[in-house]
Symmetry: C2
């Protein structure tokens, strides 16, 4: 069978399964999720055996130790996958919720009911545990999913698929609700991206190259984020202790993630007092400061910032620092160099706080809190499937509700249009 | 200047204007809308003079009288454009609304605030009054818009743009909030569809050819509907008077629109009593019935339905009729041939009504009411900019709220992530 025929058959089966799945009540979906968790633990040895084959090949190919680390499924990661499924089972089911019903003058009652999107194509490069997370979130929200993981994780992904499918089957749910593309042929992705008659939405997760490839080739709507160039603006009226703790947390706690701070903007009137102390604290933690000329005069050990440093996603212990004349310059800078991801202001000025919340065009805008809170779990959505920085459908972290849409339901008693 | 440079400059200007517009309060936007309405009436003669040039060319080119009719701007259409703008001014402004604020265990208050999408590309073939409607809806929802109308309406669209821009300017709003592409070169559309760095969303409105062209070439998300193949299922327990009135209304009141009924499904146990009478009523109104074999035995004057008649959008006084064995067959038929647009059931059976509302995967699903109610105004959204039958972002009719998205706003007092 050609790759083309195979992918098309998978997509067709996913669509048929989606029709069945959208009728399934919460209890059955939760039972399947719990069973999946049990089975993952019961078949731990089998999973590790298959994972070993991926690891052997990875070592042969000379993958970095960081990559091999991410690829490894051990006791702990398998337990945490199972735990993740149980957490998803505990979340409320958005499907069937009617958000509001209103009455029309002619007596019609009109409401909006949450329904699954249908078929989701999920394309990722990362750890095999993402296979289980994504499958769990899609199942709970009533969607079927076609998963395309990294080629280096193919054996691991296929054994995980087998276990998930068995649990679906035992619970009486369609096995085709979760499908892993069983080939490492890159052509498979390109074919999937063209099947707009079967697939409702594509979610890519990985590096900028993957995201760009998917966006360029997809005829299906894509929810994605390219990068997170997060800014914190320390306003004139900021409490210095608060500002220091938040900036330190946003840069240092986990520098390699999309919601870490990449640029710090500081009001000129507090720079002399605030900047040397926060810079010292950051540098002590190993952060390289790349500063504007005014920053350099206050922090002589900083490196001069190049043009390319503004708007750069370092994903590392590097921070661009700029001294600004006030709110206007801060907002202009963010508008020009930001990525619509996450921005925070540290201030005690009410008007400045409100203006920042209103005017900054990012998926999460914070006052006096760390950018690291842009995360579905942290914001209270439960588990998240990703962050969307395009404004369509869902802007920001996407949880179960963001994997649904609404249809209009109308209760009439004979109304016709005149 | 090349078309490419021109379109890119327009898009860049639209994005800059969008940043200004998203801060503007309702009062100013409403003032601009009212002024636009006044100016349209004051400059009626000028509009009709420019419209005359389009009409002359259309007559020269031998356009059909229906097309010329749609192109004509007379006293009545100009009044109705002005009235439309005043109605938009009277609608609530969705921008800035915070839908809900919840508290996290660490004390953060998290909310979702409605914000404009940004820049909308609106591509249409229809009447020049759409130019004014679309501009009004985009302005009220805080979005800037680039309009590309039909080439036969170019002079009319340009004079309308001039009047709208004057009103924006007089109200202190950016003129670039509303821009009409001043060329009939088709290449302009293709270029616009590639400018994903500036344009947030594309809304095409017109025939299936236009929609397919836009979807195929766009790198920007597209909200659209291809067609409306609307079904009504007359259940066993339906009240025959209600069923007859609703089916008649759905087919005959305005057969050329997307929410008109195209296929009627009838439960086999009521067909003998119900079908001859509704068929007689429809045929008296000039409707051609294309029936399944069982239909033909009850309505001898019906035409045998061909395979292609199921799922056909006739947009005319033609109706496909099929007798089904019950709910399951009706739901299967709709799933196979429907277009996810609008479906209705006529029933007095509670369980069947609930099942139909739950299982039918269409943007509007009705019980005991005409499919003709799938319309933003009729459902209570106020004016509508179009209907979306893809599930992303907004499924069904789109009003002002559907031209916005939400961002997360977070009120903290020093929280960091641990």
């Amino acid at each position: 069978m050609s790759v083309e025929t195979m992918i098309e058959e998978m997509a067709r089966a996913a669509k048929a399964a989606a029709r069945q799945l959208r009728k399934v009540e919460r209890g059955t979906k939760d039972a399947a999720l719990s069973l999946m968790a049990d089975r993952l633990l019961q078949r731990k040895e089998h999973i590790m055996k298959e994972n070993r084959k991926d690891l052997d090949l990875a070592e042969e190919r000379g993958l970095t130790s960081a990559m091999i680390d991410r690829l490894t499924l051990d006791d702990e990661t398998i337990h945490s996958m199972a735990e993740g499924l149980r957490e998803i089972a505990a979340l409320p089911d958005p499907v069937g919720t009617v958000t509001r019903i209103w009455k029309r003058p002619n007596g019609l009652s009109v409401g909006r009911m949450r329904i699954p999107l249908g078929v989701i194509g999920f394309i990722y490069e990362s750890r095999p545990n993402v296979t289980v997370d994504a499958a769990g979130l899609c199942l709970k929200s009533g969607n079927t999913v076609i998963l395309k993981g990294g080629s280096e994780a193919i054996k691991s992904n296929l054994i995980l698929e087998e276990i998930l499918k068995e649990s679906l089957d035992e619970t009486g749910l369609p096995q085709k609700a979760v499908q892993v593309i069983p080939t490492t042929d890159r052509e498979a992705v390109r074919i999937l991206l063209g099947l707009e008659d079967y697939v409702d939405i594509i979610i890519p997760r990985g590096g900028e190259g993957l995201i760009r490839f998917v966006t360029e080739h997809s005829r299906i709507p894509v929810l994605k984020h390219y990068k997170g160039v997060c800014h914190i603006y320390v306003d004139k009226s900021a409490d210095h202790g608060t500002a220091s703790d938040i900036c330190f947390n946003a840069k240092v706690q986990r520098p390699g993630v999309c919601n870490a701070m990449e640029t710090m903007l500081i009001h000129k009137e507090v720079a002399a007092e605030f900047l040397p102390s926060i810079a010292g604290r950051l540098m002590e933690a190993g952060v390289e400061i790349r500063g504007c000329p005014q920053t350099l005069s206050l922090v002589p050990s900083a490196v001069p910032a190049q043009d390319a440093d503004w708007g750069m996603e370092f994903l590392d212990l590097i921070l661009a620092v700029k001294i600004v004349s006030g709110m206007d310059e801060a907002l202009d800078h963010i508008d020009r160099y930001g990525s619509n991801h996450t921005e925070a202001i540290i201030t005690n000025d009410y008007e400045h706080a409100m203006r920042f919340l209103g005017e900054v065009d990012s998926s999460v805008v914070l006052v006096n809190a760390s950018t690291r809170f842009n995360d579905g779990n942290q914001l209270g959505l439960g588990a998240e499937i990703g962050i969307n920085t395009s404004k369509l459908h869902a802007f920001g972290p996407m949880g179960l509700e963001e994997l649904t849409t609404t249809k209009f339901i109308v209760y009439g008693n004979g109304q016709v249009r005149t």
